[in-house]
């Protein structure tokens, strides 16, 4: 049967992993290719590189990173960060990425979703949605969670599905970085409202959190960063835990 996916996410800036990871015996704490290879070996189901390179001149470095990763890592790779056009997508896919993730550009230009879907296929397109629970309910935020987009989360999720998104990456901005757990309510609301896979992100602090969001939260996959990067839990431990609780995972 189809298993739930565990997906580590790396922030990459100018071709280096930001903050690095805390693995034992890792020669290059900041080398995304080496870290990707390591995670792949440890059982990661997919990988995400989030390109947070600020300057336009340095943006091509992510393509080099993707090319090198494709030589050594043979699990699906998603790249997100600053993608604004089909040309951006084309360059990434031809460099070795399997999927791309778009966030703010989907909000400011929803036509980009259908353009990418019709050009390359929905299966290569993840639309990332950042959600905050404000006084008025769950709202979509863009620009790294700083600017309200004036839309309700579930409605936006349904819209992106209609426009051609293959998957949704849902981040609770309130939970992100807190280690208090994913937000089960909004994850479940989105998962029940759409017919495409939903990847939960934001707040993982324990293995129990992952279990909860995959079950009660009805997510199909979990994205996690610091919980893996700082060596708190390994992917193997995570999968063993989930499996022991009856969650179908690839072991």
């Amino acid at each position: 049967m189809l298993t739930k996916r565990i997906i580590p996410c790396l922030d990459v800036k100018n071709g280096r992993v930001v903050k690095g990871v805390n693995f034992l015996n890792l020669k290059e704490a900041g080398d995304p290719v080496e870290i990707a290879a390591r995670y792949s070996k440890e059982g990661a189901d997919e990988l995400v590189f989030l390109d947070i390179t600020a300057t336009v001149e340095n943006r091509p470095t992510i393509l080099e990173v993707v090319k090198k990763t494709a030589e050594q890592v043979f699990i699906p790779l998603t790249v997100g960060g600053g993608i604004k056009s089909c040309d951006d997508v084309r360059l990434l896919l031809s460099s070795g990425a399997d999927k791309v993730s778009i966030n703010s550009s989907a909000v400011t230009n929803p036509g980009l979703i259908s353009d990418i879907a019709s050009e390359f296929g929905s299966q290569c397109l993840i639309v990332a949605v950042d959600a905050k629970n404000t006084g008025k309910g769950w709202e979509v935020f863009i620009n790294s969670g700083t600017k309200p987009a004036g839309m309700e989360v579930v409605q936006w999720a349904q819209k992106v599905e209609k426009l051609g998104a293959g998957e949704i990456l849902l981040t609770s901005m309130d939970r992100d970085g807190t280690k208090d757990g994913y937000d089960l309510e909004i994850t479940k609301n989105v998962a029940e409202a759409v017919n495409i896979p939903v990847i939960a992100s934001g707040g993982a602090g324990s293995l129990q959190h992952m279990y909860e969001v995959l079950c009660e939260g009805k997510a199909d996959a979990v994205l996690a960063a610091s919980i893996f990067h700082y060596g708190e839990f390994t992917i193997e431990q995570t999968k063993k835990f989930l499996s022991s609780r009856g969650v179908s995972v690839r072991i």
Binding site: F120, G121, Q123
Partner: protein, 199 residues
């Protein structure tokens, strides 16, 4: 020489890099001469069936692919590459495929999350060099909304469960087709590609 057919659909680099691990020369090309001189052919691909056929027709290489297959050159079709080998797809209406195998391509029905994305078990139904050294019910990576329904059940090599029990691999003479992506299926997938390269 292995030729990975480039008809501009999807991430070819991963397929090429994975095949290179076999030690054989790999060429990514859509030139007729590269298809004709290949010892092994790989037809990869993700994306829409109609776009795939459009590109293949535009490149004018379907006759060369068909010729090579009829001559006995092993061909591995992956994902969209598998679906295109069949006669017809329901995707986008009624679209004719390359037609080297009888059968149709259907969409996963309601009640399922579509596309089928992630790792799922593949159960081989008969012996094949493709599965040599691969444990039964191994996990492979899938990402697709449509699946192949071959007319001849004898050619079904493997099945997978996702709402329905669908055909996840086909083997007929020198034609090997997988719905899953061996180049994205880590060591198990790489082993399968190595097996193909040893043909």
């Amino acid at each position: 020489m292995i030729t990975v057919i480039d008809y501009r659909m999807g991430n070819l680099r991963s397929v090429a890099k994975a095949l290179e691990l076999s030690g054989r020369q790999v060429v990514v090309s859509n030139r007729p001469e590269d298809i004709l001189r290949a010892k092994l052919l790989v037809l990869p691909g993700v994306g829409a069936f109609s776009r795939g056929m459009e590109n293949l027709n535009e490149l004018g290489i379907i006759p060369h692919i068909s010729e090579k297959v009829k001559q006995g050159t092993p061909l591995l079709g992956i994902c969209l590459g598998m679906q295109l080998m069949l006669q017809m797809s329901q995707e986008g209406g009624k679209n004719p495929g390359i037609g080297l195998l009888s059968g149709v391509v259907k969409r996963f029905g309601p009640g399922l999350r579509v596309p089928h994305v992630g790792w799922n078990t593949v159960s081989a139904k008969k012996n094949s060099p493709l599965f040599k050294g691969i444990p039964p019910d191994s996990y492979f990576y899938f990402v697709h909304s449509y699946y192949a329904v071959p007319e001849d059940e004898e050619c079904i090599l493997a099945e997978t469960d996702y709402g329905v029990r669908f055909v996840s691999a086909i083997c007929k003479d020198n034609i090997f087709l997988t719905q899953f992506h061996p180049e994205k299926s880590h060591d198990t997938g790489l082993k399968m590609l190595k097996n193909f390269c040893s043909l």
